[in-house]
Symmetry: C2
């Protein structure tokens, strides 16, 4: 997505530890008009998929999933990152190591919101080592639901998550893939 | 908002400890079509306000703020609940006691996303004791920004948060206010 690559070049900031900050339009402050363009692009990319539910993980995936869901006309569910006393005891869960916080957390989803009849599209802001996506995929497998694909705004192509998921036959589409990220600048992977 | 009261009566579940679960349409699974009606209603209710930014707190406020922001045509910022190494050192912060998790957490917002020129509308899913809203308000005050109002989907009118904020002259509008909540049912406060 050309407009996304241009926005990353304009507003993204590279920080030590392979961190790309895009927090002025994607995941702290959110440019809703631009997010709508991202939502429409996900619909275009996954136009041939039968999607009954969009799934994401709190917190920064929620805005993307909510805005995109308008174009798919399906509900979203978001997995939560720790057991809340507001949730039922009847939960799907998966353990996920966190790159950002250098710890492991539980991802949970109430069983009543995912069934074997669901066709699920996962949407998230970043894909790096793929840990969050793998946690969501294991929940979808536990539910017996069908994974239709994984849509990512920014993939760090120099980390292994995208390759591992695609090697498992999962349809991963990233609107921008960063091939390399150094002090000298960003290089995007060319996509058709 | 009549449609909201009807939806709460249809789908809400009262649990011990004054917990109202509305997680099948508002804050775990999200009915995006219905969320759009909520977004439009917030725009109608705050039509006379000059809003430059919508502010909320992760995680369940994000979908509401994102969908509503489309009608206000402004960016959203969401405050985060703990220090992330992805955030700048330059942060506004406030301490917030959590009713749900029976603990205290820090609410943080990067200073670059809120200035004295901003006119802020706070949106959130629930208002009970008002702790989250008070944390966001203290951040807005620290930034020297102008608070235009607080929009809430469901207010627990039998808890003190709404009254305390209104007593401080804050324009709090709740789309549904629960007057009482018992095993026998819910009673809504009548609003003009």
């Amino acid at each position: 997505m050309k407009a996304l690559e241009e926005r990353i070049l304009k507003d993204g900031q590279v920080r030590p530890g392979n961190i790309l900050k895009v927090d002025n339009f994607l995941n702290h402050q959110i440019d809703i008009q631009f997010m709508n363009e991202i939502g429409k692009e996900f619909k275009r990319v996954f136009a041939d998929k039968h999607v009954t539910k969009i799934m994401t993980i709190e917190a920064s995936g929620i805005a993307i999933a909510a805005i995109a869901a308008q174009y798919f006309e399906v509900p979203i569910v978001f997995a939560k990152k720790s057991q809340s006393i507001n949730l039922d005891g009847s939960l799907y869960s998966a353990k996920v190591p966190s790159f950002t916080h250098q710890t492991t957390y539980d991802v949970i989803l109430s069983k009543k919101f995912l069934s074997k009849d669901d066709h699920v599209l996962i949407l998230d802001d970043f894909l790096a080592n793929g840990c969050a996506a793998k946690g969501l995929i294991s929940i979808i497998e536990n539910a017996g639901a069908t994974l239709e694909g994984v849509g990512i705004v920014i993939e760090k192509g120099f980390q292994s998550g995208g390759k591992e998921l695609r090697d498992h036959g999962i349809d991963v589409r990233s609107l921008a893939i960063i091939e390399s990220m150094t002090d000298d600048g960003l290089v995007f992977r060319s996509q058709n």
